[in-house]
């Protein structure tokens, strides 16, 4: 295995991501709160500026977990596993945020916090898969087997991400379809709203990158302590 000098402190890039993210977070919130109300939903639409970036970053984080799990299985380097688990952890937080904001939005809009329609169901399954990912990691003591088993869950569990994303199209569900459709590239949104959304998306991405780098470093320190 390649032996690399492991730093004790987060590097400059991590601080830049974290700093910029935290700095721009209030700006993003200001933009979200000053964005124009929606024709149908009124001011309620503003939850979207947290909900959509949360869900996207959740998907992205699970994709990164998928990628690094594959890398781990083929290269057998624990560093990849650390990034995969860090990303899954952050992904769970963002997905949780999307679920909670979605419920808060659903109560006044649909009249209930939760309903078993395809998008919500597939997202809940996704959440459960990655909760299982961490239960598994906690249950296996042998580090190598733990990494392998976790990588397998990271890869197989990712199958639910595209299903969750496409569910609103495939089943014509209660949940609205994408305003920014990644499969066709069409955007159904007012420019002022789009700006605020994209800005929040940027802020969340910066925070995600910072968090993952920070968490991976923590994991590395933990692993070093475990070995010593």
């Amino acid at each position: 295995m390649l032996k690399v000098a492991q730093p004790d402190r987060p590097d400059a890039l991590t601080w830049v991501f974290l700093g910029l993210g935290l700095l721009l977070l209030p700006v993003g919130l200001y933009l979200a709160l000053s964005a124009p109300p929606d024709v149908n939903q009124g001011y309620l639409v503003r939850i979207m500026y947290l909900h959509v970036p949360g869900a996207w970053l959740g998907y992205l984080a699970f994709f990164v977990t998928f990628l690094y799990s594959l890398l781990y299985l083929f290269r057998q380097d624990p560093r990849y596993d650390r990034v995969a688990s860090s990303s899954a952890e952050i992904g769970l937080v963002f997905m949780g945020l999307a679920l909670v904001t979605g419920m808060l939005w659903a109560r006044p809009t649909w009249g209930v916090y939760w309903t078993w329609e395809p998008r919500l169901t597939t997202t809940a399954i996704l959440f459960a898969v990655y909760v299982g990912y961490f239960l598994l990691r906690g249950a296996i003591e042998d580090p190598e087997l733990r990494r392998k088993a976790a990588a397998a869950v990271g890869i197989l569990g990712f199958i639910n991400v595209p299903i969750s994303y496409m569910s609103v199209k495939w089943w014509r569900s209660l949940h609205q379809t994408q305003s920014i459709d990644l499969t066709t590239g069409k955007i159904h949104m007012d420019p002022a709203m789009l700006q605020a959304l994209l800005f929040n998306l940027l802020v969340f991405t910066l925070l995600y990158l910072g968090f993952v780098r920070f968490r991976s470093l923590l994991a590395a320190l933990e692993a070093r302590k475990e070995e010593a």
């Binding site: 083929f74 399954i125 909760v131 299982g132 598994l136 197989l156 569990g157």
Partner: protein, 240 residues
């Protein structure tokens, strides 16, 4: 290099036939062991019976709620039952220390996965049919469309067994596998259970096949994805 292993297709120049034969041999050997032992088979059958019985008692004597609950109860019973079964696929190998021998056999390792999967399917399918009959008896599940029901069983059980076999292999050497396996499996196979339940419900309610085929397609896609991913990952995970 030739390794003379009695009764096994030789590694040198092994073609597709060799691999298929290995798969079948492994599955038949496991099946023979399982049928001779009987304890495992009987316990799963008893589990199905008890579970369906308790659910029937819990959901009340009226026909309508029982009829409505039938597909869900059937698939939950199958899910739990096949978890019991999947640990058995590798438990004996580990007990006897033969898993390493299997892994040492020359050539790829995918055939071990497929052999175990075939064994699971050969056991699970008859059991699933029995469970279906029990559900028909206790829950008034109509059996008029037997062939579509059977197709749903095959697709659903395959989706379930493909992931279950993979994880059973991965966790074979772990002590707490009986607890861990359901935890991992259930979250991953929820889509399969969901599609199977919907298809069975549709069949029970007498919907036209065209409407149910959407769920079959979904099941087929899941089966293929899980099967391919598991078969590709199995050799990587079992090494070392």
């Amino acid at each position: 290099m030739k390794l003379p292993v009695e009764g096994w297709p030789e590694a040198a120049g092994q073609g597709r036939v060799g691999v298929v034969r290995r798969v079948v041999l492994l599955a038949l050997r496991d099946l023979r062991l399982e049928v001779r032992d009987r304890a495992g088979l009987l316990s799963i059958l008893a589990f199905f019976a008890v579970m369906l019985f308790i659910m029937a008692l819990a959901l009340g004597p009226e026909e309508a709620p029982l009829r409505r609950a039938a597909p869900g109860v059937l698939w939950v019973a199958l899910a739990f039952g096949s978890t019991l079964l999947s640990t058995r696929a590798f438990a004996l190998e580990v007990e006897e220390g033969t898993l390493d021998d299997l892994l040492l056999a020359p050539g790829g390792k995918e055939w071990i996965y497929f052999g175990k999967l075939l064994f699971q399917m050969l056991l699970l399918l008859p059991l699933a049919v029995l469970a279906l009959l029990m559900a028909a008896g206790l829950f008034y599940l109509p059996l008029e469309r037997l062939f579509p029901l059977f197709l749903t069983l095959v697709l659903g059980v395959l989706g379930y067994a493909s992931v279950a076999t993979f994880y059973a292999g991965l966790l074979a050497r772990l002590r707490g596998r009986e607890v861990l396996l359901p935890l991992l499996l259930f979250s991953l196979v929820v889509p399969v259970v969901l599609a199977s339940v919907r298809a069975t419900t549709g069949l029970a309610e007498g919907l036209p096949v065209a409407e149910i085929s959407d769920w079959w397609q979904l099941l087929l896609v899941f089966d293929m994805v899980y099967l391919t991913a598991s078969a590709l990952l199995f050799p990587v995970v079992m090494e070392g």
